[in-house]
């Protein structure tokens, strides 16, 4: 992994301070494959780990089942999950996982992680991936995006919205800073609880990963 120094604490700023800007349309091979793997299925339970998005909820409820949404990154920045260790504030991972990603085993047919792993607190990355492996059903799918080494620490955090055509729309903000860049080996290690991991490299320095449980 490549680390960025000075990326700053993950403290969510207000929308105005975060510099919310226009949406950028983006085609995604990974998302196309994700939806293709779900086609023909009904009554699915799908988890979206990005910020609350009306468009995403509309899309996911179209599969007929329940759509679940948990803004993992924003929740991890909540002061309630901070604890003092040797004079410095760190994330209380154990407490966080009691309240978040707390679902029965083999519950979800699909999970949308977007690029949350690139922004999560380091102490939470591996536990979150392990928890996801537990709560995804066998044959369930997980889609995650990872920035490549060309993305710097100032790379904007984006909210992902699913457009009606199945493309994605990115809404860049400055709410959070990029924490790290994974290489392929690290990504494979992260999803070792999954039976297969497929990579799609996009032109905008994003590595799209589709993992099958």
């Amino acid at each position: 992994m490549r680390w960025f120094r000075g990326a700053g604490e993950n403290r969510p700023k207000t929308a105005s301070a975060a510099g919310v800007s226009q949406r950028i349309r983006r085609r995604s091979t990974g998302f196309t494959e994700f939806t293709r793997s779900l086609s023909g299925s009904k009554e699915l339970s799908i988890l979206d780990l990005g910020p609350t998005s009306a468009a995403n909820i509309s899309f996911l409820t179209g599969y007929g089942g329940r759509a679940y949404t948990e803004d993992l990154l924003r929740s991890s920045a909540n002061a309630d999950y901070r604890k003092k260790v040797e004079g410095s504030e760190v994330l209380d991972v154990e407490k966080f996982l009691v309240d978040n990603l707390n679902h029965p085993e083999h519950f979800f047919d699909a999970v949308l992680c977007w690029d949350v792993f690139d922004y999560l607190d380091e102490s939470l990355v591996k536990p979150a991936a392990e928890r996801l492996a537990q709560i995804v059903k066998p044959k369930g799918v997980l889609l995650a995006f990872f920035h490549t080494q060309d993305a710097g620490p100032d790379y904007p955090y984006s909210r992902y919205h699913i457009a009606e055509s199945g493309a994605l729309e990115l809404e860049p903000t400055r709410e959070f800073g990029l924490k790290r860049v994974f290489n392929n080996r690290h990504i494979e290690g992260l999803f070792k609880g999954f039976s297969s991991v497929k990579f799609f490299l996009a032109r905008d320095h994003v590595r799209e990963v589709l993992a099958v449980r």
């Binding site: 349309r25 009306a54 468009a55 924003r74």
Partner: protein, 190 residues
């Protein structure tokens, strides 16, 4: 207990009346997206939403209720409630100061404040940009403004059968209003 001042119609204080106008598109170069898109189980022709009636019960921000809150009229709730809220055939608006830790049953729900609890709304849920809802939602239609925070699941219900949508008549002797079954704790600040 609290006193309902029926001499003057209660106003929703600083919060605006529920507005159903869609949020404008984010920009000229962005693809046409309606962040305020309504999600529903079916795709019938859009129905006009009932306007919020003038005669509305009002619980102000200084009121704290612990227990069961039920009623036979629409309610604007800007205080704090812990327990359950049952307005099955009526509309409920949670004001910006509203802090709800309860299960909610209503016909329509508009949220400006904070809810921690499951929500069962027969027709429509609106989460405004200042709102925060942690819990599971079961409803026919949902509108989420950009900026709203929601954590939980959404289950879109099919449209109820006509016979289920009749207004429940009041029990003999009962009057329109909101009743409280408090579990021994209600308070308000001066």
């Amino acid at each position: 207990m609290w006193k309902s001042d029926k001499s003057s119609p209660p106003s929703p204080s600083q919060a605006s009346q529920p507005s159903l106008a869609p949020v404008p598109n984010p920009g000229p170069t962005a693809a046409p997206v309606s962040p305020n898109r309504e999600t529903r189980a079916h795709e019938p022709a859009p129905k006009p939403v009932d306007s919020f009636r003038a005669e509305v019960g009002h619980i102000g921000k200084s009121v704290f209720v612990k227990g069961e809150l039920s009623g036979s009229e629409d309610l604007y709730l800007d205080g704090e409630v812990e327990g359950s809220i049952d307005l099955r055939n009526h509309s409920l608006v949670i004001g910006p100061n509203g802090r709800i830790r309860a299960t909610i049953h209503a016909r329509e729900l508009v949220v400006h404040g904070k809810i921690d609890g499951n929500v069962n709304v027969s027709e429509r849920v609106e989460l405004r940009k200042s709102s925060s809802l942690v819990g599971d939602i079961s409803t026919q239609r949902i509108v989420i403004e950009d900026g709203a925070f929601f954590k939980g699941s959404i289950d879109l219900q099919k449209e109820a059968k006509p016979e289920q949508r009749k207004t429940v008549s009041a029990a003999p002797g009962a009057t329109n209003g909101v009743s409280l079954v408090a579990a021994g704790h209600s308070s308000f600040a001066e």
